[in-house]
Amino acid sequence: MLIQHLHPLASSLFSLLAIASLLLSFVMLGSRWLRKYLYAFAAESWMIAGLSAVVGFYGGFPELYLVALLTFLFRGLLLPYLIWRIIRRLQVDREFHLIIQPSTSMVLGGLLVMFALAVSFHVAAAYHLELTVAALALTVMLSMKLIGFLMLAIRHEAISQILGLLVLENGIFLGTQILVPGMPLLIEIVILFDLLIVVACFGVLVGYLLTRVGATSSLELRKLVG
């Protein structure tokens, strides 16, 4: 296991990057401007790319350098660029109908992190890993997951929902790097490509939504009920 014989510096670096990513998802939660979401998402992806590289270096998994590069290129540059283009085309720059104020949603996010912490400690305790970076990684992974779901629930613009979905997956990526750095490379690469396809689909769908439904807010989607 990588995490059991870890250089203190490596452990600190892992923690730093993981916590920075978590903070960036709070930035997303606390903002109502779509561009800020996007920048925060891009920065979060860079953190995760950095994390892959660091884990690759300290853990002796050279293939993680490739994953880091691909994460940086796809999730850090290409995806944000594609979404930026959609935002520009739609000319929507912020959430118009806030169900919950950003401040409230940040408090909710905080509660979710506490819940994630409780769950991860319970799981980590089973392997006596409470005080290692593994527990932290598990916490961050679960919290980003929950925050992503929170964003999906309280945001209604199509773009915010796409970004919420991407935060869900970022959480898994981050956790994967620390917990299971040896997870077969093939899967990680395919998942990266898969995401690209997802966003391409979303681009098409958002375009359709705009032309057919006439709006990109999911609040307008209420023809199909019952």
Binding site: V123, M141, L152, L165, D194
Partner: protein, 486 residues
């Protein structure tokens, strides 16, 4: 032999995609997809007879063919073939000939991905295959480009992608648990995980299973994660609804079964089974409530799919040879029967030009044959004898009669009666009510009616005669996987 059949089965639809995209002709792509589905059907049908006892691995161990796979793939191939025949007749009615080659390319892609999903030996790649089915079918749901279909497609991809990311999280946790036993890098296949499971901490194992259950459960349409299902099933063209309901749901269900088998190989545990039983019972409840008050004819069928996936989940949850065998038998019966129901619904939709039950009247008078087939299908889908679903539901109920889950059997029985009454009431009104407007089309092509005959005869035969070979086959699946009744 098995390997060759498997390759050809998946390669045929893939070749059809390429052909459709290159030729860009409506009639040719129709034919290509039909031929591809027929080839896939012919390849999948012998698989259960050939697999025998062992797991066969191909393509440097990425492809796994065992009894479970062969069974599910056979269900999928049957549905894909019937739906392709039906699509020839149905899609011509839509007057979308210019875009028809896109439809068939996507349809063949949907067929290929749903056939390939259960074949994946690697747990991670199985997840990717399931995600691919979503991506392909989203565009099929959106094919008609109405505001409603766009809404359905958007909900479909959002809800399912979010849900299935939980399954990815669960998969990562399974890998993590395995890495304490097998070292940091190993090939995560179903069998390696099952072998490692006894040494994985039960807390972690349970958490991972619950995440996977919710994740793939979203794709299966178990309530309360079913929100996408009625919309997607009702707004896509009828052949797509058939594939979604009859093929896709099974493909995701088999993942839940395999994960359950992994957890159970660590020794019997109550929580996973209880979770399945609870989700199954709740799906039945949601299905029953929405069936009774339903106003859309295809949504009626969609809620019935939720109900039947609930029944399958109950079968897996009850466990034991009876439960597992019953659940797999139910998969086949449901695939056939739900195809029949969606074929009929699509035909009536085209004939009356509406999706609303309230505007479909006098079916018995105008369409004696098609209507009769559809009505027989409705009797079958509610689980009345002498059709296949009766025997599979009865088997699942027998499996549930054990102290821990007897309550669920009573709930299931009560809800099935409610569903029977609700369903039959809708059909009574559609059949014998006096028509406000006569149907706009009186003749249905043989392409649209033929598959209904095929499906109904199969369901009837499966109800009257459950061959002992099939029974032994399904019992063998049960013994290879999930544990004893409690």
């Amino acid at each position: 032999m098995i390997g060759a059949l498997t390759y050809v089965m998946v390669a045929a639809p893939v070749a059809a995609i390429v052909g459709c995209l290159v030729l860009r002709s409506a009639r040719l792509s129709e034919a290509l997809n039909l031929v591809a589905s027929a080839v896939a059907f012919c390849c999948a049908l012998p698989l259960p007879f050939l697999v025998g006892d062992r797991e066969s691995l191909f393509w440097s161990d990425y492809i796994l063919v065992d009894r479970t796979t062969a069974w599910v793939v056979m269900c999928t191939a049957i549905v894909y073939f019937l739906a392709s025949v039906y699509a020839v007749g149905y899609m011509r009615l839509l007057n979308e000939d210019a875009r028809l080659f896109q439809f068939y390319a996507l349809f063949a892609g949907f067929g290929a991905t749903t056939l390939a999903g259960p074949l994946m030996n690697s747990v991670g790649i199985y997840w990717i295959a399931i995600e691919l089915t979503t991506l392909v079918s989203t565009f099929l749901v959106a094919f008609e480009r109405e505001a409603e279909s766009m809404e359905a497609a958007w909900k479909y991809i959002m809800v399912v992608s979010a849900g299935i990311s939980l399954a990815l999280l669960g998969t990562v946790l399974f890998y993590w648990g395995g890495s304490f036993v097998l070292g940091p890098t190993y090939n995560m296949t179903w069998s390696t995980l099952a072998a490692a499971a006894p040494q994985i901490n039960p807390v972690l194992l349970t958490l991972a299973f619950l995440l996977v259950l919710v994740g793939y459960g979203t794709k299966v349409g178990l309530a309360p994660m079913h929100a996408w299902l009625p919309d997607a099933h009702s707004e896509g063209p009828a052949p797509v609804s058939v594939m979604l309901s009859g093929a896709l749901l099974n493909t995701a269900m088999v993942g839940i079964f395999r994960f359950l088998a992994i957890v159970e190989s660590a020794g019997p545990s109550l929580v996973p089974q209880l979770a399945l039983v609870l989700l199954g019972a709740f799906s039945l409840l949601v299905g029953a409530l929405f069936i009774v008050r339903q106003r859309g004819v295809k949504r009626l069928m969609a809620y019935s799919s939720i109900e039947h996936m609930g029944v399958v989940a109950l079968g897996f949850g009850f466990g034991g040879p009876l439960g597992i065998a019953g659940a797999f038998y139910h998969m086949l019966n449901h695939s056939l029967n739900k195809s029949l129901m969606f074929f009929g619904a699509g035909n009536m939709m085209r004939a009356y030009g509406t999706k609303r039950i309230g505007q479909i009247r006098g079916v018995a008078e105008y369409f004696p044959t098609t209507g009769g087939l559809w009505l027989a299908g409705a009797v079958a889908i509610t689980g009345a004898p002498p059709f296949g679903l009766f025997s599979s539901e009865l088997t699942i109920m027998r499996a549930g009669l054990q102290p821990a889950f007897a309550w669920a059997v009573y709930v299931m029985a009560a809800l099935l009666i409610v569903i029977f009454v609700g369903f039959m009431n809708h059909f009574r009104v559609m059949y014998y009510g006096s028509p406000a407007d006569p149907p706009i089309a009186r003749r249905l092509s043989a392409w649209c009616v033929g598959p209904m005959w095929a499906a109904l005869i199969a369901v009837l035969v499966l109800g009257l005669w459950w061959p002992s070979g099939v029974w032994n086959y399904l019992i063998a699946i049960a013994h290879s996987g999930v544990g004893a009744p409690r």
